[in-house]
């Protein structure tokens, strides 16, 4: 079958390029903006997802993992006594200032445990042995922190909270939602550096269940015995931390707005070019009708043109977004494009272009085939 829609679309290459460029721009905008937001949300929960804890115990009403609140560290003993708990350890998450070589100060999020290996933290080591953290005034820093803290190497020293610490290892991908790099230090060292603030205190308790223990039943029992704390499964705690940023801060609305604007740009560009193209090809559509074609035949031509523009524009937009992924990585930003999201954008792009084509449907519905007899 002769593909009049495709041939006509490709016949006017300038217009076709403008249409595809418009769609590609809209797709890139949506993919990049939402991809960066997904990357930030990934940071917001990365320690929860990577740590091998089944349950997280927080201070009452802690909003998210990056906003820790203190409570007595002795509560861990109560946790360890609950049936079904195999292991429970205190985890301190706190902010500390790092003096940079330029004399400025930057913040780092400290994760402090006594036994990092037991909890799979840090999860991606570039250099060093986490066991060494117990042996002195040592710290693990993330390789992505060089942009904030100046360049450093393992065995360099850095002044953190007015204490000189040696960097004995480096991690990869340890960054919080607020883009503050995550550093790892020994639990006792952190308490000793902030004795007034953290002496005898912790911010979280990590819980690992015994094999066969019922997750929800254990969680309920822990909640019963710790009325001044909240007990979450890892999934619940990750959701709560993510929802905080998406809902409470308005960042989610910002992301939705970006998607909406991207769609709007796409619809306007495609609708305008398709409509102009339809107007310029009215006589051809009149000919289609005169030689026996129906409105449905013409709708199919327009829908095909819209779909082709959508798919090629989407492909170009996706290619640009994929090029941006490593570029964002170089700036220590995560641009994550989950497959379901990419497929949703593809479907949305096709629907958007078909919606734009409907503007032209109305025009062609009224074409009088008799117009082909007018010179």
């Amino acid at each position: 079958m002769v593909d009049l829609g495709l041939k006509t679309l490709l016949h006017d290459r300038t217009r076709f390029f403008i249409t595809v460029a418009g769609v590609a721009f809209a797709v890139t905008l949506v993919l990049a903006q939402v991809g960066l937001f997904v990357g930030l949300l990934d940071n917001a929960t990365i320690t929860i997802r990577k740590a091998s804890a089944d349950l997280w115990i927080t201070s009452h009403n802690t909003a998210n993992v990056d906003f820790p609140q203190r409570f007595p560290e002795t509560r861990v003993d109560r946790v360890r006594s609950v049936p079904g708990v195999q292991r429970a350890d205190n985890l301190i998450v706190t902010f500390m200032s790092v003096a940079t070589p330029s004399g400025a100060a930057e913040n780092t999020v400290i994760y402090a445990l006594k036994d990092f290996k037991a909890w799979n933290l840090p999860w991606d080591l570039k250099e060093g042995r986490v066991e060494d953290l117990r042996r002195g005034r040592y710290v693990f820093m993330d390789e992505g922190a060089t942009r904030r803290f100046g360049s450093f190497r393992t065995e360099d020293t850095r002044e953190i909270q007015e204490t000189r610490l040696r960097i004995v290892g480096q991690t990869r991908g340890a960054q919080s939602f607020t883009t503050n790099p995550i550093s790892f230090m020994d639990y006792d060292l952190v308490q000793s550096m902030q004795p007034d603030f953290l002496g005898g205190k912790t911010t979280y308790i990590l819980v690992k269940l015994a094999p066969g223990a019922d997750l929800e039943a254990t969680r309920r029992e822990l909640q019963r015995r710790l009325p001044y704390n909240d007990v979450f499964t890892s999934a619940q705690w990750a959701k709560k931390s993510r929802d905080y940023w998406v809902i409470s801060t308005g960042l989610g609305l910002n992301a939705y707005l970006t998607v909406f604007l991207g769609c709007l740009v796409g619809v306007v560009v495609v609708a305008q070019t398709l409509y102009t193209s339809t107007m310029e090809h009215l006589k051809e559509f009149g000919t289609v009708k005169a030689i026996g074609g129906t409105n449905a035949d013409i709708y199919r031509i327009l829908a095909r043109q819209a779909t082709i523009s959508a798919l090629i524009g989407f492909g170009a937009g996706l290619a640009i977004a994929l090029i941006l992924v490593p570029l964002a990585g170089r700036a220590h930003l995560k641009l994550i494009l989950p497959l379901p999201f990419v497929l949703a954008v593809a479907a949305g792009t096709v629907l958007m272009c078909l919606a734009a084509a409907m503007l032209s449907f109305r025009k062609v519905a009224g074409i009088d085939p008799g117009l082909v007899f007018r010179s």
């Binding site: 079958m1 002769v2 009049l4 041939k7 006509t8 490709l10 016949h11 006589k283 051809e284 009149g286 000919t287 289609v288 009708k289 005169a290 030689i291 026996g292 074609g293 129906t294 035949d297 085939p369 008799g370 082909v372 007899f373 010179s375």
Partner: protein, 223 residues
């Protein structure tokens, strides 16, 4: 009679102004017959052609194709009738500029329900019949006026319609090419027993016509 119009009236109304274009026209076309429809500008020739070709509905009267009454049908049904019974040739050729010669013919066949290799073979045969085999893969912009009109004729012949309706087919062609196109029309009408109605101002059409019908002020006068 393959095409028949009886008491066809057409009036246009714009505001309070009513303009009668056709005033009770009777018309008939036999298989293999060539009829030239003449008349001054504004006499109603093209309006009659459109009504006979199911493009326009008459204000009164009716049209029959192969004995079947076809006026007063829905626009969808009229499109179906155009597909099955009519081929059109236009003064401005009205080819699809993005399609090659062969594709222009094949697309019309696609609309008539033919597809794939069958449509391709028939299109090739029609292009050959109008003497454009060597131009089959050219776009319309690379063709002369006469060649474009040949493509339009090949397209009109696609699907073996009973009637070919041509609106000023030689108006945009020089005299020699116009004669060649008319000869092609004559061959087509006589060899396949199709009815051919040609709306024209061109006196050369008289030479190939079996019958000349003149229309003045919306009324038929047989010459």
């Amino acid at each position: 009679m393959i095409l028949k119009g009886q008491a066809i009236t057409k009036t246009y109304q714009e505001g309070r102004v009513v303009t009668p274009v056709l005033k009770g026209v009777d018309f008939g076309l036999e298989a293999g017959e060539i009829v030239a429809l003449e008349g001054p500008s504004g006499s109603g020739k093209t309006t009659l052609l459109q009504i006979l070709g199911c493009i326009l509905s008459p204000s009164a009267g009716h049209v029959e194709v192969l004995g079947r009454r076809i006026s007063d049908q829905s626009s969808r049904a009229q499109a179906e009738l155009r597909r099955r019974h009519f081929g059109f040739v236009f003064q401005q050729f009205n080819l699809f500029p993005a399609l090659t010669v062969l594709e222009n013919v094949e697309y019309a066949l696609n609309l008539k329900g033919l597809d794939g290799p069958v449509a391709r073979r028939e299109a090739e045969g029609l292009v050959e019949a109008v003497g454009l085999v060597d131009r089959a893969h050219y776009l319309p912009r690379d063709l002369s006026g006469g060649q474009k009109q040949r493509v339009a004729i090949a397209r009109a012949m696609g699907g073996n319609p009973s009637v070919i309706l041509a609106d000023e087919p030689t108006a945009n062609l020089d005299s020699q090419v116009g004669s060649q196109i008319l000869e092609l029309f004559r061959t087509i009408a006589k060899s396949s027993m199709r009815g051919l109605l040609v709306v024209t101002h061109d006196p050369k059409v008289r030479a190939i016509a079996d019958r000349i019908v003149s229309i003045h002020d919306g009324l038929i006068q047989v010459v």
